[in-house]
Symmetry: none
Subunit: 195 residues, 4 copies
Amino acid sequence: MERRLTPRGKERRRQLLAFATQRFAEHGYHPTSVADIVSGLGVGKGVFYWYFESKEQLMLEVLREAQQSLRRAQQDAIGDEPDPVRRIELGIRASMAWFDRNRSLVNLFQFAASEERFAPAMRRGQEVALADTVRHVKEAVVEGRVRDSDPDLLSHAILGVTGQLARTFIHERNASVDEIADAAVAFCLDGLSGS
Amino acid sequence: MERRLTPRGKERRRQLLAFATQRFAEHGYHPTSVADIVSGLGVGKGVFYWYFESKEQLMLEVLREAQQSLRRAQQDAIGDEPDPVRRIELGIRASMAWFDRNRSLVNLFQFAASEERFAPAMRRGQEVALADTVRHVKEAVVEGRVRDSDPDLLSHAILGVTGQLARTFIHERNASVDEIADAAVAFCLDGLSGS
Amino acid sequence: MERRLTPRGKERRRQLLAFATQRFAEHGYHPTSVADIVSGLGVGKGVFYWYFESKEQLMLEVLREAQQSLRRAQQDAIGDEPDPVRRIELGIRASMAWFDRNRSLVNLFQFAASEERFAPAMRRGQEVALADTVRHVKEAVVEGRVRDSDPDLLSHAILGVTGQLARTFIHERNASVDEIADAAVAFCLDGLSGS
Amino acid sequence: MERRLTPRGKERRRQLLAFATQRFAEHGYHPTSVADIVSGLGVGKGVFYWYFESKEQLMLEVLREAQQSLRRAQQDAIGDEPDPVRRIELGIRASMAWFDRNRSLVNLFQFAASEERFAPAMRRGQEVALADTVRHVKEAVVEGRVRDSDPDLLSHAILGVTGQLARTFIHERNASVDEIADAAVAFCLDGLSGS
DNA sequence: GATGAATGAGTCTTCATTCAT
DNA sequence: CATGAATGAAGACTCATTCAT
């Protein structure tokens, strides 16, 4: 593999990746056959295997791209904000917005995390994204803005809240992102008790 | 379908359900074939279709049973505790303990939630379990122990924290349940800020 | 695998094996598809995989059976003949007759010997058959009836003569078996020089 | 086809032929794809079909070249030796040496002989090489040095011994060529009986 | 001359489901 | 009730060959 591609080739590859991403996200990995993908693009079956080693490899690439995109969205939102707590908040809001824009990918992430073949890749991706949060949390602890508890645990808790609310209220109920994001932020900062 | 079963028949059915649950949980739904299930029990393929309409129906039943079991564990733990906040805490701890005892089912839940065919069933099950929490939250709000925010959102947030920590730290890292439960409870009650 | 088969099942298996043997022998391994085999028997594709693990395993079984059959023919012909030189002769004649009766298998043997996946099996089978010849040769050497040379080499030479004459004159030119067998025996016993 | 090639074109063609020969010999005809061949040479797929009509034609050419090379080796070794028996011996030794130098081609020959598409070509090639031996044998018969039997049969027997010993002891066991050649010569001249 | 791209029929294999016994 | 047998659509993947550029 590792082909040198002409511009036209690169374009085809992008097409395939994009189309497959959409299909995987909307119909699921298993229900989407390679035949679906190529016929959806109106090309021969061989084209797929010219650009990708296997359906599995393609999926891995889809996941990688999506995770990168999510992370970039978070980083873009955070910018160089100096306040670590504010950075956490911005991260949550950015994630929620991304989830909103990429609703169907949430499902795909969930599936991937549950399947032996893709779980490791998901884990790796999450660890990267998590490391950012951990950094903010640690700084906030130093500043005395957050109680001194295992930053890994705290970060995962944040992630859990964000993910669950996104899944439930955005993906499934079509709610307004901002409200949900507000709720997530509030819960993460103050829990049930409120300030 | 809806057969009247002899005691021996009921036993057979239970066996199939139990074995399938284990297989689905450990290897996944797709990788577990009906042939695996019946040959694992040393019976013919006809047996399966005598007791279950299809693989899909079986899965649905597996999911229903598991969700019931989780819910029962929560209710048993809560008993008739009068303090609503304490009830929330007991619920979290009971869930965490159940996740610990049924590690592999967590994966199955995640898969089921991501697959069109099973997502509705998962949703329904979760709604039932969530209704309990919502009740506790509402009471706590009335008592002024929890800030007055959408109880549905709050409950989902709790669920998100619990689920994420369970998945990450129990299922994947083999951590001690109690510590994780403590962390989940603390986060849910006080968020990042601490009391 | 390793199924317990009903009489009907055993019959089917035999059918498949026999039909596949014929096809492989007449058309070759690669040109014969699993689809050819099952459709030739008028059964569904699944039937094949009910009885055999893979096309490759089937081929291995075909080869094993054929080699066994050849060896049995040799042993039957030799019986308990006391004279070792006569035993060699009987072996050659029996082989030649078998090659005649199973012309197309000769080709299959040749193919199998040339293909990495089947060569080891062929080698093992040949070693078994060769051991017999080696025994006769050794005895004949002891009796002074054959010159004292490496029995392994001598045995292979015998095999080479027999095989080549069979391939050329029986398989390809449809010659009379007995004449060819006479020639092979004469050459093996006396070489070019004659007595 | 039948292109007029520039010197550079001829060189390309030779390269392709040489590389394909090596691949076919080492990995087999079927397992070697056209893509393997061209990518092994770092050229595009079009190149292949510029110089060769098809994979099959290429194989045919590979076989022809190899058979020619073998025959040339035999003729070179024989030179103008007047003694026909000696010529036979020299032919055997030359063949054995060639088989040693081109071990992997032996397999390819065997495969080709077993495949309908290539068998005729193999046969034709062998007939040519055999005609030489037949000539020597006939002369030897006239001189009374070899018993008066069908020269065709005798020649094939010689070829059978040589081929089998080469395949077994050189190709598979890495034995010394000279010893094997000695054994082949001795067997051909005197059979089992010895002089 | 040469390249990368595209084709599509064909390969082996899997598996939920049905059925005769 | 239960079994082993059978079905056949569907799946992922391969590869010789052709073609536009």
